[in-house]
């Protein structure tokens, strides 16, 4: 073999290497393009669901006695493969019939800081129940409080068939303390869970529970046609769009008609003192009903709603699945604060938090932005709030963090120039009991643990997830989840599957096993820093891959990856280490103790001296005013 042959061999080898490199490069490029591929295109509107539970209700409200009387035509369509032998209805208001109910016993007569008034209880009675052919049905209570009632059917409802029943009912609304009732000396009423409502038939049984204090609601999609008769001069806001003009009656009342398609619930609120402000946002009519004392926050409410509305539509998909043209916001009176901070399809209430605080303290905006977020997660994705509360509240609270960041730089307060972020507010609550697992039925938790499991821990966990995987990947996950499961009642298993598909099994593993199902906690700390050597340690069962920034006396700072599987890490530099910081970008707010995340070789003298100088002046001022006061 001469030099020429050797030369050709070298060239062939280079060509082979080049060819492989090209193929590998193309493969990498394709993979990169896949990761950077545009997010799923937002649908203009989802596929309309097939109605399961539809209602036509005509009700009259008497503010003098706080009673509702109504007739209801309810249709349940069996979309499952199992025949339905009976009908189960929720009569939620019976939870407030007296202090011995399960709900009040669990809540201790208090809900979200508001107390139950036993002289003004609430209840809901079905006075007549018949099939469409007139056959009378008998209701029997399932639980001792009759918040759940059952009626046997002469014939099961076969798969694909529907059953229609006609009900007459009477309800007394309690004085507002837990979402529903009257307030403002009877001049305000918020009617939520006010009519007999079907349970959810799935997997061969009714998914319906007695009403627990921590629990919220679960219902099928359907269409509603509702008429509400109120005294003249009352303004009403409801789920759904008005049908025609309000109709005056000869007895001085007015009947208001509404319709709503593809919703899981129907609520309404009314007052003789309401004022109205409206705004149109991207084709959706926004209607704000407020009382005169709320005048100062009208603009703030509209601005926060509009801002968050646009963000949620951009991030996840169309409002109301694309089927809704109206959104109603109700600000509740001060003595009706228990009705505030609550979500219903195409309607939410606020005014419980901070309407009288200075504008630099944005609790009101937090409440508005949070309740609006439910329009995507509760009203469209519609998970089971009783069995898996975090799928609604946790995702909504996480989206509240995102919206507060986008609209207000994250700050729930920046009074006096000091900023407090909404994320940190949630993080502080989470840190009270960080080992609380996220998953679990609502009634399994006491009220503090419920707040952590359903709200704050998921909010912090999902924010951590976003910061670790990146915003783009996170939005891909969320948008896929929303669009795939809109109007479909997904479970945690479905969410996990989407997470694995979009974010990968490794990420899903630490999130799901560590946080959702597990009680893992995490504290990464700098154990020691001496000379050219720093020792770091992870405590707790949870591991999230992080980064460490090391600053040397000589040379440039470097960032080192600290993957899982390494409970300790030792850094040795060629020059003395000035400072070491774990997670410098604060990607892991789940870390319980950030004080030990960083250490300097010596104190930060400029900061300390600055504090000492200001302390000096503060003391001089104290001695001046304190002395002058004499």
């Amino acid at each position: 073999m001469g030099g020429g042959m050797q030369g050709r061999t070298r060239i062939r080898k280079r060509m082979q290497w080049g060819g492989w490199s090209l193929l590998v490069g193309m493969g990498l490029a394709l993979a990169a393009w896949g990761m950077l591929a545009p997010l799923p295109v937002l649908a203009e509107a989802m596929e309309p669901p097939t109605d399961v539970a539809s209602y036509a209700i005509a009700a009259r409200y008497d503010p003098a006695t706080y009673t509702l009387t109504g007739t209801e035509t309810a249709t349940y369509t069996n979309r499952t493969a199992d025949p339905i032998p009976d009908l189960v209805f929720h009569l939620y208001l019976n939870a407030f019939s007296g202090p011995e109910t399960l709900w009040l016993t669990e809540a201790g007569d208090v809900s979200r800081g508001f107390g139950y008034d036993p002289t003004h209880p609430g209840w809901l009675k079905v006075t007549s129940l018949r099939l469409a052919d007139g056959t009378a049905l008998t209701l029997a209570p399932v639980d001792k409080d009759a918040t759940l009632v059952r009626a046997g059917l002469p014939q099961p409802v076969a798969p694909g068939q529907a059953v229609q029943v006609q009900l007459e009912f009477t309800a007394q609304l309690p004085k507002v303390f837990a979402r529903t009732g009257w307030a403002d000396e009877g001049r305000f009423v918020m009617a939520g869970q006010w009519f007999p409502k079907f349970g959810v038939w799935q997997q061969g049984a009714w998914n319906a529970y007695p009403f627990h204090a921590n629990s919220e609601f679960y219902a099928d999609f359907g269409s509603y046609e509702v008429q509400v008769t109120l005294p003249e001069g009352w303004l009403i806001g409801a789920t759904g769009e008005p049908v025609g003009e309000p109709h005056p009656n000869s007895d001085g009342t007015v009947t208001h008609a509404f319709q709503a398609a593809h919703v899981i619930d129907f609520a309404w609120g009314a007052s003789s003192r309401f004022r109205e402000a409206t705004r149109d946002v991207d084709g959706v009519h926004l209607r704000l009903l407020y009382l005169p004392e709320h005048q100062a926050v009208v603009q703030r409410t509209l601005d926060a709603t509009e801002g968050a509305f646009r963000k949620y539509s951009e991030w996840y998909g169309p409002y109301g699945g694309g089927f809704a043209q109206q959104l109603t916001v109700i600000l509740v009176p001060q003595d009706g604060g228990g009705a505030g901070g609550m979500e219903y399809p195409r309607l939410f209430t606020a005014g419980m938090q901070g309407t009288t605080l200075p504008a630099c303290f944005r609790l009101h905006e937090v409440e508005v932005v949070h309740e609006l977020g439910h329009q995507w997660f509760q009203a469209v994705v519609a998970t089971n709030e009783a069995e898996e509360p975090w799928l609604d509240e946790g995702f909504t609270d996480y989206t509240t963090v995102r919206a507060m960041n986008a609209l207000f730089g994250g700050a729930v307060s920046d009074c006096g120039g000091w900023t407090w972020s909404y994320l940190d507010m949630r993080r502080t609550e989470y840190a009270l009991a960080p080992e609380t697992a996220i998953a679990g039925a609502a009634w399994k938790f006491d009220s503090t643990a419920y707040g952590i499991a359903a709200y704050s821990k998921p909010a912090v966990a999902l924010t951590t997830l976003e910061r670790v995987v990146g915003e783009e990947a996170m939005l891909r996950f969320l948008r896929t989840y929303y669009q795939r499961y809109a109007l479909a009642h997904p479970t945690g298993r479905d969410v996990r599957a989407v997470m694995e598909e979009t974010l990968g099994p490794a990420t899903t593993a630490w999130f799901w096993e560590g946080l959702v199902e597990g009680s893992g906690v995490l504290d990464a700390q700098v154990v020691s820093l001496e000379g050219q050597r720093a020792s770091l340690e992870r405590r707790g069962e949870l591991c999230i891959p992080s980064e460490v920034r090391v600053t040397y006396r000589r040379g440039t700072p470097e960032t080192i990856a600290w993957p899982c599987g390494q409970p300790t890490l030792t850094v040795e530099g060629e020059s003395p280490i000035v400072a070491v910081e774990i997670d410098p970008a604060n990607k892991i707010p789940l870390d319980l103790n950030r004080v030990n995340n960083s250490q300097r070789a010596g104190p930060d003298w400029p900061i300390w001296l600055s504090f000492a100088v200001r302390t000096l002046t503060t003391l001089q001022n104290f001695f001046f005013w304190g002395g002058a006061a004499w």
């Binding site: 120039g417 000091w418 900023t419 900061i607 000096l616």
Partner: protein
Amino acid sequence: MTQEPLTEYVSHPTEDASRSAVAALKASPPGLKGYLARLFTRLRPWGLFYLFISLPSAVAAPLLALPLLNWARSSLLRQALGERSLDALLQLTTGPLANMQLGGASGDATLLFLLLGVCGVLLLWPLLGLGWVWLEGGALTTYADAERPSWRRFWAGCKRWLGPFLVVNVLGVLAVFIVGGLFLALAALLWAVSPVLGGGAGVIGFLVVGALATWTELARAVMVVRDDRALGPALKGAWRVAIRRPLPLLALVMGGLALYGLLFLLNRAVTGALPYTWWLAVLVAQQLIVVLRLGVRLGRQAGEVGLAATLV
């Protein structure tokens, strides 16, 4: 007008000089402007008051800041103080609790030491109040004397007027609390009927309380100018000054308040504009404000002595 001998002050050859100084005062009073000018020509009170508030502060401040040296090794302190981040501040304070949840010891007594330090400073309040009143005797003597007083006369003035000033001050504080409390209650009651009425009552109450405080302060100046420790005549004299020279008195009081307000805004603007870590610039700026604020108070007192001298 009594003319008791000034022998309690000093047994000094200049005793006659003092008497002739009072006579000279009667013959040709310097005028209000002249008394105000004494703030700048007789710097002893200004300097002493500055030292009085600064020396203990200079000792206490590093002691109070010492516990923070622990936190100064974490990047959170710079975030908390430099960026005014409540997030970071909360994490600094709750970090030890989180540590305990993970089975570790708290190991961080920073907050506890800070709290103890603050309590210590608060306990000093009665002592510093006494010291302040004591020094004011010397200050008013300095402004009242026809000739610039000596150190000995200054200290003698401090000693002479401590008791009477304490009595006047206690009376003033009681009056302010009682009258102020009554007006506050009235304002609260009226507010339920009409916010305008309630607000009006509040404003009137504020003015009445301010007038009471000025009256007692003026009474002290009258005591020193007349060299009379009796309370009754001093209060009557102060009342006469207010009736005879209402506008200059109002100008002194309102001008002083306005200057306090201006200094407050200036302090906020300057310290807000300066980066947090520019500690030397902040020190200089804030010390200037402290000195000027002292000057405003002493200037008002010099003016009150000047007004009281109209009775002479």
